[in-house]
């Protein structure tokens, strides 16, 4: 078959337009989110009096908002990494806002809380539950994202997988943040980050194989 023949076949196939990548990712992410929220409702549930507690303690909405910001930025990064030749500098810099804000929160907490309480605030009430819950809540969105990204064309499959893990981990962490009674930025820095890092590492390992094209 000559190249002109191949082009002929490709053109005929192009008569059926492909779904844009963003739409494919959303279409997979949606059921993944439904499963994650189902697990959340069945196993964890919303923290009692979240709104009134949040009105008194800014740490609560700082924690939830920070994870929400990470969800948005990691989502954008994931899509960028799935597109060949996409510009990455802007989004990578924007992503740095998240650790910067967390450091700021830690700084404020160091000032606000007496040194004797630092250790207790970092260990929190149930660190192991946090470590288990974030990956558990992240799992369904994680699988959905990896399947959707097979439709992408990442120049660096491991990196794209890692971004998907970060994205899913942030989703798990944001859900968990609305349940978790530990609000200190110390706790977030110590335990949330481990949970998210587990998902990121898993994404890199799986992505390196699954997302090759």
């Amino acid at each position: 078959m000559k190249t002109e023949n191949l082009i002929q076949a490709l053109a005929v196939d192009a008569g059926t337009p492909p779904a844009p990548l963003g739409r494919t990712v959303s279409a997979w992410l949606l059921p993944g989110m439904v499963v994650a929220i189902g697990i959340y409702v069945a196993g964890l549930g919303l923290r009692p009096h979240l709104l009134s507690l949040g009105a008194d303690d800014p740490r609560i909405f700082f924690k939830i908002g920070l994870m929400g910001l990470l969800v948005c930025l990691a989502g954008l990064l994931t899509l960028r990494l799935a597109r060949p030749g996409a510009e990455l500098r802007g989004i990578s810099l924007a992503l740095m806002i998240v650790p910067a804000l967390l450091l700021l929160g830690i700084g404020l907490e160091l000032v606000a809380v007496p040194q004797a309480d630092w250790g207790r605030r970092m260990i929190g009430h149930n660190a192991m539950f946090c470590l288990r819950s974030i990956p558990l809540l992240a799992l369904a969105p994680f699988c959905a994202l990896l399947v959707a990204l097979r439709d992408g064309a990442p120049s660096h499959p491991a990196l794209a997988g890692a971004a998907a893990g970060l994205f899913a981990g942030a989703i798990g962490a944001m859900l968990y943040a609305t349940h978790c009674p530990d609000d200190s930025p110390f706790f977030v820095a110590a335990w949330y980050s481990i949970g998210i890092a587990i998902m990121t590492a898993a994404g890199a390992l799986i992505g390196a194989r699954l997302l090759r094209w």
Binding site: M1, T3, I7, A14, T16, P18, R83, P84
Partner: protein
């Protein structure tokens, strides 16, 4: 490039050169390709065919340079051209229509060429000096038949193979193919798309 070996960085350098060259030659071409691609992704087969025809000589030049830079004979560049065309086609949904077209195109070309070179890594190769005349020649399609794609085509499931062949070689439309194969138009569309995806997968698996 993140985590790239030295050899890969060298390959990247070559493509940077090509990319820069393409950039200098014109914003007009970039705009034209982007417009054709936008139309193609909206289902305009004629615009898309024109785009692929315009891209092919450029891909051919890039494949020849890539192969010779990797120390391979540029003679089988047409296999790389066809594999790259398939990749462009099957990944066309990853182009963001608001973004420039060339960086997307070159990222795919670079990815596919590096992939081909890596797959052929263990094969003995001919020094590039022997093929200087080939490199200097024009970029018309070689008249000889290209082997790889025909071999891969033969190994597809019957239905997909028949559909791809009738449409590609005989130039049949979806409707004509449906009539000749007593299939529904929808089934022809699905078989065509699956057949093309399977062809790309066969390229990927070959020489692994």
């Amino acid at each position: 490039m993140i985590g790239a070996s030295r050899a890969e960085r060298n390959k990247t350098y070559i493509f940077t050169e090509i990319t820069t060259g393409a950039h200098v030659r014109g914003n007009d071409r970039e705009q034209g390709w982007a417009a054709l691609m936008r139309a193609g992704n909206a289902g305009d087969a004629a615009a898309y065919q024109q785009l692929l025809r315009e891209l092919t000589p450029v891909l051919r030049a890039a494949a020849r340079r890539g192969l010779s830079a990797g120390g391979y004979a540029a003679m089988d560049a047409e296999d790389v051209v066809q594999e790259t065309l398939l990749a462009i086609h099957l990944k066309r949904q990853t182009w963001d229509s608001q973004s420039p077209f060339s960086p997307w195109l070159w990222a795919i070309v670079r990815h596919k060429t590096i992939d081909v070179l890596r797959r052929r890594g263990r094969r003995l190769h001919v020094p590039i000096e022997d093929f200087a005349d080939v490199l200097g020649s024009d970029e018309a399609e070689p008249s000889m038949l290209v082997e790889d794609i025909d071999r891969h085509l033969k190994s597809l499931p019957d239905r997909q193979r028949d559909v791809v062949r009738i449409i590609a070689v005989d130039g049949a439309s979806i409707g004509e193919a449906a009539e000749r194969l007593s299939m529904s138009a929808g089934a022809v569309r699905v078989a065509l798309h699956r057949g093309l995806a399977a062809l790309a997968a066969k390229f990927k698996m070959s020489e692994a």
